[in-house]
């Protein structure tokens, strides 16, 4: 081993006994573990569920349509050498006995899939034979099925022959997360579950040589209709609007807080370390070490530290990833593939960037220390180069962090929010502390000393308060909202709020369905649903008449569900105009927010393309719609005459008490093609997701809190000499050691109380905003926060402060004062 590495190793071993190096190591350990966790989990999720790869699409090219794809759709296209297969996917209720569940059905023909493979138990190839069904473990569990048993699929019972463990071509969006079942196309007609006009996704999968596929894509893309989409590998974009992708982004953002805190801890630990290294550096230079050799000694020391934390961090990251993956496993649609091996190194790489970029500036400064420091105590000048280097290092580090998070804008936003919030909280906390100390100053023996101390330490108090308040605020918000928000959101609905939607009711079934509900004495109202695209305003094409922002409006980007009705829906009060009279024609009722956002007013004429036919109407009134009422709601309702001849399906929603739930079984037995959506089941699924997401981000924030506590310790260390000197002075002037201790603890206690109170206020503020704007329910006070946070913060400050402050004996005081 060379002299320099040996020196570095010895230095590190000695430094391991100091608080600042322990904090530095712990901070980089957490940063590396967290980064490894997110990089690996993120990669697995993306490879398994989020990225359009051949294995995920099940093909090289997919034509996606919300309507049946006509046989002549592909006429004239270059299809030589191309393999193709059609898939239909739709939601449906399937069951066994009294157990019913909503699943996503994929109707297949051989060959399938064209790329990737179906993983089943027992293993095998091909697709389900006619009369057979393959189902995912979640269906197996919920319906308590075992292989060999029958699954009721509309009129057609199917035999469960295999468990489906993983499959490509899951479709996009919410349907890809529902439990899936695979059936043979030969069973579809007999089941009666898919009637014309029912909601379904029709796909054509293509596979072939790359150049042929490319040619097909080029020819197909310009011919796409508004209800068609083309998914090609060449785009290789993450699927947009995917909740899982958003959740992953959210987790990465919450990790930014931990990474920032780690970086700050490392900066301050190195600051204190390098301040203590002046004499040593001067001595080593004096003994003949060249400045570049000295830089190498310290760099080696950092690299050794990195090696330690990289191994520990990657290992911890591995364990955390294992735990989180198993935690999420039953919510994930299928098992995820392993991460790319490089991802395992990304945490360590980020750790290296952190240590080297933050460590280099103080190390280079150490190499510039004059040897005369040994004689006269000179310190190196802080010149522009050092400042510039520090600036460049911080910028590089920020760029590295942003690149890792893959969402630069959101991360920058969060960064600015944290900085502003931190500054504000730090300032308010410091002012609050002064205010609190003033009455104490008059009453307590040490009161005057306390105000002096608060003034002297105010810079550090601001930083400490900023970190602690922000962390406690975020942690409380996540903690409270993970269960509280959904519960409160649900609690606001009256107890008879509909808990089922029934869709895909065919016109010829309407009378029978009405009859069924009347028999069961259930109050429901059926609404027709017609698909149409808004194309015209006042006789002219609509788009050119709108602003760019308006053109991007939800109602213009897709086909709308239009309805017609003679009476005003009772749950839609009018805010302008009048409802039409029988016999009125060409009348439209429009939803309030759509009218506002698109600037539409009473008297405007709107035109819709309904199955190739232009249907027009004049806006007669504007309705208020509460979208969360769980009743059928529409942006646009026509008068009956305008649309009643257009092809439609019907929709309704209704409320069943727990005792009435068996009715769903009777309903589906009688009308197997209807799709019943159990809102409670969906909400439970959603709250399950939110809860796990909340727990995952609470885990990350708890790690952040760990970083925050270390940062707190390191900031207390920075002023330790000053504190000790002051303590020594006071003790030689007659203050007892006990009084000096009380002064310190009083300072920490007050600081903790102020931080806790501020964090409670902050958390209440954020929660109130979430209630008001997100859930639109009146905010409530969380008394438990106001009690627990000040106590917790005070405890944290007193404990950490008590650990870091060391009592001084009188003889030590004297020596300290003599040394200056």
């Amino acid at each position: 081993m060379s002299l320099l590495t040996r020196l570095a190793g010895r230095q590190l071993l000695t430094q391991l006994r100091t608080t600042e190096w322990r904090a530095l190591l712990l901070a980089s350990w957490i940063a590396i573990a967290l980064t490894t966790l997110l990089a690996v989990l993120g990669d697995r999720l993306e490879r398994g569920l989020l990225r359009e790869s051949a294995a995920l699409l099940g093909a090289d090219l997919v034509l996606n349509s919300s309507r049946p794809i006509p046989a002549d759709r592909l006429a004239g296209l270059p299809l030589a050498d191309i393999e193709q297969t059609p898939v239909i996917q739709f939601p449906s209720m399937v069951g066994q006995g009294d157990n019913l569940m909503l699943v996503s059905v994929r109707v297949l023909q051989s060959p399938y899939p064209l790329r990737g493979e179906l993983v089943t138990e027992p293993p095998g190839s091909g697709i389900p034979a006619p009369g057979e069904v393959w189902i995912e473990p979640r269906v197996m569990t919920q319906l308590q099925l075992t292989p060999g048993e029958q699954l009721e699929f509309g009129y057609q019972p199917l035999k469960v022959t295999r468990e489906l463990l993983a499959s490509p071509d899951r479709g996009s969006g919410f349907r890809s997360f529902s439990p899936h079942i695979l059936v043979n196309a030969a069973d579809l007609d007999a089941s009666g579950v898919l009637a014309p006009g029912s909601r379904a996704n029709y796909r054509l999968l293509f596979a072939g040589p790359p150049e042929v596929i490319h040619a097909l894509e080029q020819t197909l893309r310009p011919t796409l209709a508004s209800h068609e989409r083309l998914h090609a590998l060449s785009t290789d974009q993450p699927l947009t609007g995917n909740a899982l992708g958003n959740a992953l982004g959210y987790l990465k953002l919450s990790a930014l807080i931990a990474l920032l805190l780690s970086a700050m801890t490392i900066v301050l630990a190195l600051r204190r370390f390098s301040l203590g290294q002046h004499t040593r550096s001067a001595l080593l230079l004096n003994l003949g070490l060249r400045p570049n050799q000295l830089v190498r000694v310290y760099l080696y020391q950092l690299l050794l530290a990195w090696l330690l934390t990289a191994v520990a961090g990657a290992l911890t990251g591995y364990l955390l990833e294992w735990a989180v993956y198993h935690w999420l496993a039953d919510l994930l649609p299928q098992a995820l593939p392993p991460a790319h091996w490089l991802r395992w190194l990304s945490g360590a790489a980020l750790g290296l960037a952190l240590l080297v970029l933050l460590g280099l500036p103080p190390i280079l400064q150490l190499a510039r220390i004059p040897v005369a420091h040994l004689l006269r105590g000179d310190t190196p000048p802080r010149d522009r180069t050092a400042l510039l280097l520090q600036g460049v290092s911080l910028l590089l580090l920020a760029a590295t962090l942003l690149a890792f998070l893959e969402a630069p804008l959101a991360a920058m936003g969060l960064l600015v929010f944290l900085l502003l919030g931190g500054t504000l909280f730090g300032w308010v906390a410091q002012a609050g502390l002064q205010l609190l100390a003033r009455p104490l100053a008059r009453r307590l023996l040490l009161g005057r000393l306390l105000t002096m101390r608060l003034r002297q330490q105010r810079r550090w108090h601001q930083l400490q308060a900023a970190v602690v308040v922000m962390l406690l605020t975020l942690l409380s918000v996540v903690w409270v909202s993970r269960s509280d928000l959904i519960e409160q959101w649900q609690a606001q609905f009256p107890s008879d709020t509909p808990n089922y939607f029934l869709i895909n009711i065919q016109p010829w079934q309407k009378a029978d369905v009405d009859h069924f509900f009347a028999e069961q004495q259930l109050e429901t109202e059926l609404y027709p649903m017609i698909r149409g695209r808004m194309t015209q305003l006042n006789g002219e094409p609509i788009r050119p008449q709108l602003t760019a922002e308006q053109q991007d409006h939800n109602t213009l980007r897709r086909e709308l569900n239009l309805s017609w009705h003679a009476e005003r829906p009772t749950h839609n009060p009018l805010v302008a105009g009048d409802w039409w009279q029988p016999g009125d024609t060409g009348a439209i009722s429009i939803e309030q927010s759509m009218a506002d956002e698109l600037g539409l007013k009473l008297g405007d004429r709107l035109g819709f393309d309904v199955g190739g036919i232009l249907v027009e109407g004049e806006i007669r009134n504007i309705r208020e719609v509460v979208w969360t009422s769980f009743r059928p709601n529409f942006y646009i309702i026509f008068n009956p005459e305008a649309l009643q001849d257009a092809p439609s399906t019907w929709i309704t929603s209704f409320y069943l008490t727990p005792e009435q739930r068996t009715l769903t079984r009777d309903l589906l037995q009688q009308f197997p093609s209807l799709t019943l959506i159990d809102i409670d089941q969906l909400l439970n699924q959603l709250s399950g997701w939110l809860q796990r997401l909340g727990d995952s981000s609470a885990l990350i924030l708890a790690l952040s809190l760990g970083c925050g506590l270390m940062l707190l310790g390191v900031t207390l260390l920075q002023a330790l000499e000053q504190r000790r000197f002051e303590s020594a002075l006071l003790q030689t002037l007659g203050v007892t050691a006990e009084q000096a201790r009380r002064l310190d603890l009083l300072e920490f206690l007050l600081l903790g109380l102020v931080c806790g109170l501020l964090a409670s206020a902050g958390a209440e503020g954020v929660l109130a905003m979430l209630h008001q704007w997100l859930l639109k329910i009146p905010p409530r006070l969380h008394l438990e926060l106001w009690l627990s946070l000040p106590l917790l913060a005070a405890l944290v400050f007193v404990l950490i402060g008590g650990l870091i402050r060391r009592p001084l004996r009188l003889d030590q005081c004297y020596r300290l004062l003599r040394a200056g």
Binding site: L3, R10, L283, L287, G288, P291, P370, L374, L375, R376
Partner: protein
């Protein structure tokens, strides 16, 4: 490095001035200071606290640069050497002994003495270090760490370290300042004995008149002037 000629002085200060800028204005420590030190000589610089003794020592050792004038080391002006050359000069020809010993706490006595030899790349580093530790009477305590040694013993390790590289010039800044009288006395005895044996030039800074009396020449730094004191 130039070969030293015994006729010419090893260190020479020519009209050296040193001043500092402070908030209160410029403070001049000394002006027109002349000094010539012959090889093998022992010389004490005495003066009150704040007289500028340590600054003068850093100038003579090339750790600092004068505001005016020149310092010659072995006939060569230090101002003409860059940082690297000055570091090389210190490595090969100069050693220091400090008031507060300045040992590396994580190295034992042997490693502390061996360190500068290893930096020089000497193959006999280990033998040399052992030899010099025996010379200062610490042959039995080579594996002790600084924290396990008394103040006097730590300073003896520092002396062994200073002599181990066989320097031409040894600078000692208040070497007994942190020691009690008796230990200080023993250290001084050892320092002068080794110095006589090795023929090193010794430049000693002290405010102790008795200690200064052991040197061949004594210079008094007072009000910015350097005065030769009679023996």
């Amino acid at each position: 490095m130039s070969h030293l000629n015994h006729e010419e002085p090893i260190i020479e200060a020519q009209d050296v001035a040193k001043s500092f800028r402070t908030q209160a204005g410029t403070v001049e420590l000394f002006r027109n200071l002349k000094l010539s030190i012959q090889p093998g000589e022992s010389l004490a610089i005495i003066g009150r606290s704040g007289a500028g003794k340590s600054t003068l020592l850093s100038l003579l050792a090339g750790l600092d640069t004068p505001t005016e004038g020149h310092i010659l080391f072995g006939g060569q002006s230090l101002a003409q050497l860059d940082d690297a050359a000055r570091a090389a000069l210190r490595l090969e020809q100069i050693s220091f002994i400090f008031q507060s010993f300045h040992l590396l706490p994580e190295l034992d006595a042997l490693d502390n003495v061996r360190l500068p030899l290893e930096i020089q790349g000497r193959r006999d580093a280990d033998n040399q270090a052992r030899h010099w530790l025996k010379q200062v009477g610490l042959g039995a305590r080579m594996d002790h760490y600084p924290a396990q040694l008394s103040g006097g013993e730590q300073q003896r390790v520092a002396i062994a370290r200073a002599f181990a590289t066989e320097p031409k010039v040894l600078f000692a800044d208040e070497p007994t300042g942190n020691l009690d009288d008796e230990t200080g006395h023993q250290i001084i005895e050892q320092l002068f004995r080794l110095n006589a044996d090795a023929g090193t030039t010794l430049i000693l800074i002290t405010h102790d008149i008795d200690l200064a009396g052991r040197c061949q020449r004594r210079l008094h730094l007072h009000n910015g002037r350097l005065e030769e004191m009679s023996p």
